[in-house]
Every structure is written in structure tokens, then in C-alpha cells.
């Protein structure tokens, strides 16, 4: 469902993403991890047709992203790291806008949306978006994507700013959607979430994919035992474990 070969993004001389190749199948939750500035958001933006690709190819649901950006966007759902929504809309108007844009203003989608509102405790639909908190906007953004039941969902730090209840609902709902056949591509800094939720994990560092596979495969590649957490694995792979220890000792 999500495929890219030698995907590269350069900003002048700086390489943000370097020769990234991925092949993510149907019904999987893929965790895309990395340090700050590793290139995770850039990768999502390239895969979803939001950012021009410097070189390489990206395919979503069999469609070339660069050639069919609009059609690709119609098939997928994107939850960005910052929910930047038109401030002049109310919550209700934003949802109407999305429903009309995706030509999904039907009773089924509306029913799904209302159920999601109940689940996320969304009782602020008449509030202008300019007056909403980050958490409220995030809930609205997640709901606007999930109500459409897209086949592929990209989520960039979806739980940031959400309360524990909403965060748990999102995680469970994503698992359910994956079980129903959707492909989920998510980035997170909360490694416990990735460890519990993701079927496969990719670790990006300075634009380069260091490793990729299931938790077991990742442990095997580093010769680590079964009790090794994703956090330990991540720090070891990104050469930060010793650094962290030194800093703590110095403090």
C-alpha cells in the first residue's frame, strides 16, 4: 500500500531524507521513529504529495504520488503534527467542508462522525477554531480523518496534546482499523506506544533509515535479548545510550 524507492529530499546542500526505501503492506501499523529533525515529517509530506520529491519514487495504493497528488490525497487520511485548521471555521463548518470536499456528505459518514464525537467527547462544534485549544483541534482533526475510513492513514505524533482517555481511544481505534484492512503509518516519540501498537518499526536517523522490521527482527539484528525494550534499542541504534548515561551521571 505504501511503497517508496530511493526517496530523497534535499534542501540546497542539506539532505533531509536520504535514499529511503519502504514497502508497507495492507493491514499493518508501521511505526516510523527517529530523533528530532531526523526527517520523519519530511518523509510523510513526500509520501502524501505535500512536498516535492528531490529524487526517487513514491507509490500510495498503486498510484504515483508525484503524478497523482490529488487522487492520492483523496484515498488517504493525514493527521499532521500541528492541527492547522482554518481559524474562521467553527468545528461544525470544518467537518461540513471536509465532507463536501471528499463528496462524503452521506448519512453513514455523518453517523460515524457523530459516534466519534461521542467517543472523543467533542462538545465544542459550535466554537470557532481560533478559540480551540491544541487538544480540541487535534481531536477534531483526528475525527475528520477517521470518519472517512480511509484505506491508508498517516499520523504525525497523533497523541500529542490529547488527554489519556482520547489517546487510548485513538490507539485502540487504529488497531481496529488496521485489523479491518487499513494501513497505518505513524510517527511518535513515545516509544512505549510504538512498541505496543506497531507491527513493524522503522528507525530514521539524520535522514537515513538505520533499520526496519518487527520488534523481534530489530532485536535479532542487534543481538539483543527478548527483554530489550524499544527505548533501549532506539538509543543503541542512534548511538545515544552512552551519551544519555554520561549526561545523567554528570548531572
Amino acid at each position: 500500500m505504501i511503497k517508496c524507492v530511493n526517496l530523497t529530499k534535499k534542501y540546497n546542500t542539506k539532505v533531509a531524507v536520504d535514499n529511503l526505501s519502504l514497502d508497507i503492506g495492507t493491514g499493518l501499523i508501521y511505526g516510523f521513529l527517529g530523533t528530532n529533525g531526523a526527517g520523519k515529517t519530511t518523509t510523510i509530506k513526500m509520501l502524501t504529495g505535500q512536498l516535492p520529491i528531490t529524487s526517487g519514487e513514491a507509490e500510495i495504493a498503486g498510484m504515483n504520488v508525484m503524478r497523482n497528488p490529488v487522487e492520492v490525497k483523496r484515498q488517504i487520511g493525514i493527521v499532521p503534527d500541528e492541527p492547522k485548521i482554518y481559524p474562521f471555521f467553527t468545528g461544525n463548518e470544518f467537518i461540513q467542508f471536509i465532507l463536501d470536499l471528499f463528496k462524503m456528505n452521506n448519512s453513514v459518514t455523518r453517523k460515524d462522525f457523530n459516534e466519534l464525537c461521542e467517543a472523543f467527547d467533542i462538545d465544542f462544534l459550535n466554537v470557532p477554531i481560533s478559540d480551540m485549544s491544541h487538544g480540541m483541534r487535534q481531536k477534531l482533526m483526528v475525527t475528520s480523518v477517521l470518519m472517512r475510513k480511509p484505506r491508508i492513514i498517516f499520523l504525525d505524533e497523533p497523541t500529542v496534546g490529547l488527554d489519556a482517555r482520547s489517546s487510548r481511544i485513538i490507539k485502540d481505534l487504529l488497531k481496529k482499523r488496521a485489523h479491518e484492512g487499513a494501513t497505518i503509518f505513524l510517527t511518535t516519540h513515545v516509544l512505549e506506544i510504538a512498541e505496543k501498537m506497531c507491527d513493524r518499526i522503522g528507525i530514521l536517523h539524520n535522514g537515513v533509515l538505520l533499520t526496519e522490521g518487527t520488534m523481534e527482527e530489530l532485536r535479532e539484528k542487534r543481538n539483543m535479548d527478548d527483554s530489550t525494550s524499544l527505548e533501549d534499542l532506539f538509543l543503541a541504534l542512534t548511538d545515544q545510550a552512552e551519551d544519555v548515561q554520561n549526561i545523567v551521571n554528570a548531572l
Binding site: 505535500q50 516535492p52 490529488v70 499532521p80 492547522k84 463536501d100 467533542i122
Partner: protein, 507 residues
């Protein structure tokens, strides 16, 4: 307080990066030069009016002095209305005020800081206030001018204090939306009042040789010590007015600091409520509806649409002349259209990521943004034609002007959008930021010149009768317009290419 204020101003003025600092300096310089030019022009005009009216005398003085006292009082009131509504808008809670409230700074310092920041844009209103003062002092003795000048300075300070008190009161009771509407209404009335006070009223007095009854009856009050708005200029004749002004300044000053220290910076009221998505049939033209919603939610855009039309209609009716009206509407309309697209595009700034995420064809996105202001203005122009035809009479041939004006307006729309795309405002939260740029003012000038050389000659050719303009001159006029139109089309194509390049670079 002065320490807080100096730190705040230092942070605002000196902590900007060198580019924006340079831009700000240029804009300020442009504004000051513009104000001086404007002051010179209207002072000169008022001086002529004042000299003509001063010849007409009666028992208590001359018509010129009554007229000047009247307009100074009137524009003092407008100064208070404009300044207080604009400043109260700046006193609404925003990110900067939120941040400043976390610091050990007195509220009065925050209010005064906002007063200084918003006060810069009031220079033009100050010019309108000062012009009659200059005319009034023109035939006075040196001692009158010295005391009068001190009085005027104190009056300006008094006006600022009164406006600030009103602003503090207004910001506690009115929402941001109400304040924006209020600002627009005041500006529209101001424009109308300016024409009536500076053009129509003196003309009518000179024609009839008498003052309107109401003005005559109110003269006693206008020039008395009870009229706090004119005691400044009259301090030249009665220096003891300076004492009254000093007392008033202390009183209003203390009241200002007392009230500003107790101001609760309010945010817009939030309506909470649970409601399901409304049952409705799927609608097409989502982008168009979104664009219209931008217009509905931003009173500033409504102002940009109706100001040239209202002003042009007023000019047409006052002068009983279709040409004046049409010319004003088309030229001003072009300038305001470029402001509409620049403003509307700036509004997209913070949410542009959303557009990139959604399955939106960017060509449609641009087309809608460009065409909405042009179509709205075209429709309004048709209505204006209809209205003026009813009351003044319009030659059917003048309908040819409609497509010509529309082409110019389309170019204006393209230039507004290209400007925002080329120079996106640094503060995306402020869609008006483009107005501070000197290059936008330069672009304004280009639109002004092009629209004038395109619309003016063909309008003269069409609206004048064949008897007054020779066929050769007619052909020449049409030729100039055609050349203007040609330049506009070339420029529009270039602007369109720039826009496409910028927008399609997004994805």
C-alpha cells in the same frame, strides 16, 4: 512604568531582525512623508476656504472662525471614535498580551505600549485634525499662535487620554467582531463627513452668504470654555484656557492610569455547545463557499468591497456626475481588490498545510481566490451603473467601460495574490501585515497609474459628447487606453506565471 515601557518598546522596535526593521523604518518614513504631503494639500485647501469665509462677518466675529471651530470640534470627536475603536481592538487578548501578562509588568504599561503601537496608524487622523488648526492660525498674531500652539499640543494629548479611556471601556464590553464593524462604520462615516465638511459645507455657505441656522446657534458653545475640543486653539485669544486644559489633562491622565491598571484583557466569547453535523445534501463548489465564508467572517474584506463603491456613489451624487463616480469606483476598486486578494491569501498562511493535505486542485484554489473579488466588484459596478442611471442618467455606450474595468481589476487581483506569495507576511497571525510593506505601496502606485491610463482616456472618449471632443482626440484617447490595456494584459500573464510557479512549488 517608564522602565517597563522602554523595555517593551525596545523589544518591539529593536529586537526585530534587520530586514523587518528596515522595512518598518521605510514604511514609517513613507507614512510620515505621505502625512506631510496630505497635511500640506488639505491645509492649503482649507486656508483658501478660511480666507473666503473670514470676509463674511457678523456681530460676534466672522464665518471663518465659526467654521474652523466647528470642524475642529467635529474632527476631535471623530479622532476619539476612531482611536478608541482601533485601540480597543489592540487591547483584546492575543498571544503577545498573554505573554506580557506572565511578566512583572503593570497593566497600564501594557495598555500604554499598545496605545503607542496602534497610535502610529492614527497619524492620518491627526493630520485631518491639524489642517484646520494651521488654517485658523494663518491670520493670527504671534502671541495668539504661541499660546494657541501650546493649547493645541495639550488638546492632542487630552484627545489621546480621552480616546484611551474610551478604548479601555470599549474593550471590556465589546467583542473583537463588534469592534471591527465599528471601525469600518466609523471610517465610512469619516470619509463621507470629510467630503461634507471640507467641500460641501463651505461651498454652500459661500453660495448662500449665510451660515446654517444650527451652526449659528451653536457658535456660543463652539467657542466657549465648555467646548473642551476647541479650547486648545482658542487659548491664543484666552490664555487662561491653558489652565483649564492642564487641569483636564491631570484629571483624564489619572483616570486613564487608574482604569488601564484595572483592565481585564478579554478574549472573544466562546459559545460552547454540542451539535451533530447538520443533515444536508452534498454541496459542490466547496472552495467557493469557503472563500465566501472568509469574506463573511472578515469584516475587513467587506470594508474593502464597499468602501470604494460607497465613496464613489457619494462623490457621484454630490457632484451629480457619473464620470466622477465611475472613475472613483474603478480606480479605488482596483486598489482595494489587490488588498482583498493579498488579505485573503494572507489568511491562508497559517492553514496552508491543510490545503496541501487535502485533495484540492491548486488551480481551482487560485482561480476561486482571484475571481471572487473581481466578480463581486463587477456585480457592484453593475448596480452602481443602474443606480446612477436612475438618478443622474448614464449613456448606454458607457457600458463598454464594464469589461475594461474588469480586466484592470483582474490584474489588481493577480498582483495582490502575487505579492503575498512572493513576500509572505512574517506574522501569519496578522493578515494585514502586507500593508506595512513599502513594496506593496509601490505596487499600489503601479496599479493606480495603469488603471488611470486605461480607464480615464476611454471614459473621457465615451462620456463626452461628440461636439466637445474632436474625432482625432477621441481616437488618441482610445489608443492610450488600448495601450494601457495591452500593458495590463502582459503584466497579468507575468503575474499569473509567478503565482503558478509559487503555488505549484508547494507540491
Amino acid at each position: 512604568m517608564f522602565h517597563d515601557l522602554s523595555v517593551l518598546l525596545k523589544y518591539k522596535v529593536f529586537m526585530e531582525n534587520s530586514n523587518s526593521k528596515k522595512r518598518q523604518k521605510n514604511s514609517l518614513l513613507f507614512l510620515v512623508l505621505f502625512c506631510f504631503g496630505f497635511l500640506f494639500l488639505i491645509s492649503k485647501n482649507l486656508l483658501t476656504v478660511y480666507n473666503e469665509l473670514s470676509v463674511l462677518t457678523f456681530a460676534n466675529g466672522n464665518f471663518g472662525d465659526i467654521y474652523m471651530n466647528f470642524i475642529i470640534t467635529f474632527f476631535s470627536l471623530f479622532f476619539i471614535l476612531s482611536f478608541s475603536s482601533m485601540m480597543s481592538f489592540h487591547l483584546k487578548k492575543n498571544e503577545e498580551i498573554d505573554f506580557l501578562l506572565t511578566l512583572p509588568i503593570k497593566k497600564s504599561s501594557i495598555v500604554t505600549y499598545n496605545l503607542i503601537i496602534s497610535g502610529i496608524s492614527m497619524l492620518l487622523y491627526l493630520v485631518i485634525y491639524l489642517a484646520p488648526v494651521i488654517a485658523f492660525f494663518s491670520n493670527k498674531t504671534p502671541s495668539f499662535i504661541i499660546f494657541g500652539s501650546i493649547g493645541v499640543l495639550m488638546s492632542v494629548l487630552l484627545l489621546v487620554f480621552i480616546s484611551s479611556i474610551c478604548a479601555v471601556l470599549l474593550s471590556s464590553v465589546a467583542s473583537q467582531k463588534v469592534l471591527r464593524v465599528l471601525m469600518i462604520i466609523i471610517n465610512l462615516i469619516y470619509a463621507g463627513a470629510y467630503i461634507l465638511m471640507f467641500q460641501t459645507l463651505p461651498g454652500s455657505i459661500l453660495n448662500s452668504g449665510a451660515l446654517p441656522d444650527a451652526l449659528m446657534k451653536a457658535d456660543g458653545f463652539f467657542r466657549s470654555g465648555f467646548n473642551i475640543f476647541s479650547i486648545g486653539i482658542n487659548a491664543g485669544e484666552r490664555p487662561y484656557y491653558l489652565i483649564i486644559l492642564s487641569v483636564l489633562l491631570v484629571l483624564f491622565g489619572l483616570l486613564y492610569f487608574y482604569m488601564s491598571d484595572r483592565l481585564n484583557f478579554k478574549k472573544i466569547r466562546v459559545r460552547n455547545g454540542k451539535s451533530a453535523v447538520k443533515e444536508s445534501a452534498a454541496k459542490s463548489n466547496t472552495l467557493l463557499r469557503k472563500e465566501l465564508m472568509i469574506y463573511r467572517r472578515n469584516e475587513q474584506l467587506i470594508y474593502y468591497i464597499f468602501y470604494p463603491v460607497g465613496f464613489g456613489l457619494l462623490m457621484g451624487f454630490i457632484n451629480k456626475d457619473f464620470f466622477t463616480s465611475l472613475f472613483t469606483i474603478s480606480i479605488m476598486g482596483c486598489l482595494f481588490i489587490s488588498m482583498q486578494t493579498a488579505y485573503s491569501m494572507s489568511l491562508e498562511g497559517g492553514s496552508i498545510e491543510l490545503i496541501k493535505m487535502l485533495p484540492i486542485d491548486l488551480k481551482d484554489f487560485i482561480r476561486v481566490k482571484l475571481l471572487v473579488p473581481v466578480v463581486i466588484n463587477f456585480l457592484l459596478l453593475v448596480i452602481v451603473f443602474f443606480c446612477l442611471n436612475l438618478f443622474i442618467g448614464v449613456r448606454p455606450l458607457s457600458l463598454i467601460l464594464l469589461p475594461v474595468i474588469s480586466v484592470v481589476q483582474l490584474m489588481a487581483s493577480l498582483s495582490g495574490m502575487a505579492f503575498t506569495l512572493k513576500k509572505p507576511p512574517q506574522q501569519m497571525s496578522n493578515p494585514n501585515a502586507f500593508m506595512r510593506s513599502t513594496s506593496f505601496l509601490g505596487q499600489f502606485l503601479v496599479i493606480l497609474v495603469l488603471s488611470m491610463i486605461t480607464v480615464l482616456p476611454v471614459s473621457i472618449a465615451i462620456l463626452q459628447t461628440a461636439a466637445t471632443v474632436s474625432p482625432l482626440i477621441n481616437a488618441l484617447l482610445i489608443g492610450v487606453s488600448c495601450a494601457g490595456l495591452f500593458i495590463i494584459i502582459i503584466l497579468s500573464v507575468r503575474l499569473w506565471n509567478t503565482i503558478k510557479k509559487k503555488v505549484f512549488a508547494w507540491c
